[in-house]
Amino acid sequence: MLDVYLQTLLSGLAVGGVYALIALGFSITFTTTKTLNFAQGEFISFGAFIGVTMLLLLSGLASTTTAVPSEAASAWRYPAAVIGAGAVAGFMGILIFLLAVKPFAGKGGMNWVMSTLGFGVMLQSLGLAIWGPAPVMVPSPLGDNVLRIAGAGVRPQELLVLACAILIMVALDLVMRRSRIGKAMMAVAHSPQTASLMGINVNLVMIGAFALSSGLAGVAGVLIAPIASASLFMGMGFALKAFSGAIIGGLNNPRGCIYGGFILGVLESGIGLWQAQWREIVVFGLIILVLAFRPAGLFGQAAVDKV
């Protein structure tokens, strides 16, 4: 029975790592600009296909219509594709900020909700025109053999996602808390006007936040692709779950978002042991409970409005 619980925990952490990575992206834009990029899901899908294209270009191998040959992901090519997808998605993030968020940011109203959603639809249509609707299986650079840990099975790529999520989380945490850029971002998050008076280029910080958040989505896309297979429809589901994780953990706390993502993954997998069809009801029921009793999330600090 122990191996069943271990399997549940491992499977949950593997999925949770994906949620955590994307949840972090939501948190970064929210803390700096008080807006969210609702096209995050499309950025994940788009990033995955940028990765697919790069793997094929770098290896010079032809793809069948539905799968990338496994040699294409070997050696340095996969990391290069991850970085490339992150860079392209980051650039698209600058675009979405300038075109769809900046004109409306700080003006009250919810125009940016519609404009970022719309940007996502445009991105998806563009992707469909370039790559078509079929899902494409992406090979893992670490191979596909199941690893056994005390009777529980896990794929190398799932461990890779987990490791990357933790690594990126720790690195960002350090940057946010120790470096001048991180302090500038926290200052902008606290009060853009004050930050501006202190000589911080608020606009640049906001652009940076969107580039970083979208870049993370692109990276997540390439990392998930060998697990879920790259598809222009894959991002939406992950983004919704990641957003839920961010709400549970606390949108204004990057660390909390990560914990929220992991909690959600393990919770889902645990509910599967009981009654899988109740999963969504339990997950979203929990979100309502969290919002009702701890509006800032389980790990968020309640904002104190000083009059």
């Binding site: 299986m137 199941v146 099975g153």
Partner: protein, 398 residues
């Protein structure tokens, strides 16, 4: 404008109209309405259109029907029911097509099946497999919905028959996805299992986008299930066999025909893809006629496994043409009568159809036309074992 020039203009306009409607009447328009671009199943729609166009080319090369050429009017429904409904009215009312083939997604056919029935315009499905598509709107009503494709309930009957006849099967479990497709399959599974006296000891569900089903499988394993009947789309079945490997649990796995998708094969990987057994209408052990059409369409086909839809749709068009010929025209009610009582056999890709439809039977392909199939070395091949050999047509009754 002088009165004369006005009259002249009117005369010119009249003759132009008369001319264009004469040219119009010479061609018989057939419609296709289905997803060609928006969902993973779009590849099936694209293959279907290739098949219809090939059949139209063949008929036109042989002089057309009733001395008139056939043309195809294609509408993409982006897999959205509202768009599909709108396409249906557009094709029938504006384009004046005499019959509509498609759609790609079963749900869309269910959303508009009242339209062909109200407008008395036959619809011949050649892709979607939901059982209810060809059911009449009410018990005694004229029914304009026909199909040349797989039918979910007939597949379910096959899977149940296999599980029931397999001497090694002691405990059966059902595993379905939580979409409409999975739930429809579960309903058929439960009804037919009960009718055949087969009792599942566990039923589990998973999401269509899930990447890990180990929790559900661990429950089945703990319950001692040795045969699972799976109803889901290609990608999640691929994830399912991958999860089976994680916990090293491989029960006999009988699945819906979605395991024939390239997306299943790519997700599962070469070795795990060989686990499930399922039914489909064509394997890669093709008949000469099938091979001929395959060679003709292969360069244009985006997915090899979608070829079955090209073949179904080719045959659907051939049967439609035969009905127009027998009816001596394109009036809907007469075409329906002809479809339900075709005198001459129709040479198709799947088989030769002798009276494919009747007033009560609207399925041209039935369980005896299906093949047991598995993946072997990246090819879809016919599957047989002692259980399959012992199955009789009477075991497939629904």
């Amino acid at each position: 404008m002088t009165p004369q020039s006005k009259a002249l203009n009117a005369a010119l306009l009249c003759s132009a109209l008369a001319f264009s409607s004469a040219a119009y009447a010479q061609e018989i328009k057939i419609g296709f309405n289905g997803d060609l671009s928006a969902s993973p199943s779009a590849q099936s729609g694209q293959a279907g259109v290739l098949g219809i166009q090939a059949a139209i080319d063949d008929i036109n090369a042989a002089g057309g029907v009733l001395g008139r050429k056939l043309t195809l009017v294609v509408r993409d429904d982006l897999s959205q029911p509202p768009k599909s409904i709108q396409n249906m009215s557009d094709l029938i009312d504006n384009e004046k097509v005499v019959a509509v083939l498609g759609p790609t997604n079963s749900g869309n056919a269910l959303a508009w099946k009242h339209i062909p029935n109200q407008k008395k315009n036959p619809s011949i499905g050649c892709i979607g497999s939901a059982t209810d598509i060809t059911k009449p709107m009410s018990a005694s009503a004229d029914n304009y919905m026909y199909r040349v494709s797989m039918v979910d309930r007939a597949q379910v009957a096959g899977l149940i028959a296999y599980a029931k006849s397999n001497p090694k099967t002691k405990n059966v479990g059902f595993l379905v996805e939580t979409t409409g497709y999975g739930q429809g399959g579960l309903k058929d599974l439960q009804e037919l299992a009960e009718a055949k006296g087969l009792k599942p000891i566990a039923t589990e569900k998973f999401g269509v986008n899930d990447t890990d089903m180990t929790s559900q499988l661990n429950k089945l394993k703990a319950a001692g299930v040795d045969t699972v009947l799976v109803w889901a789309q290609g990608t999640p079945i691929g994830q399912l066999v991958r999860s089976m490997e994680k916990i090293n649990y491989f029960p006999v796995t009988l699945t819906s025909w979605s395991s024939d998708n390239a997306s299943f094969y790519d997700t599962a990987g070469k070795n795990l893809a060989e686990k499930p057994v399922f039914m489909r209408t064509i394997t890669e052990d093709r008949t000469p006629k099938q091979q001929q059409l395959y060679d003709r369409l292969a360069p244009k086909m985006t997915s090899k496994s979608a070829f079955s839809f090209a073949a179904h749709c080719y045959d659907a068009l051939m049967i439609t043409a035969a009905a127009i010929k027998q009816a001596g025209g394109t009036e809907g009610a007469k075409m329906r009568e002809a479809l339900e009582n075709l005198q001459a056999p129709v040479e198709g890709i799947m088989k030769t159809y002798t009276k494919p439809f009747s007033a009560t039977e609207h399925e041209a392909l039935t369980a005896s036309d299906y093949r047991w199939t598995v993946w072997k070395d990246g090819r879809l091949v016919s599957y047989t074992d002692d259980v399959v050999k012992a199955l009789k047509p009477s075991d497939f009754t629904q």
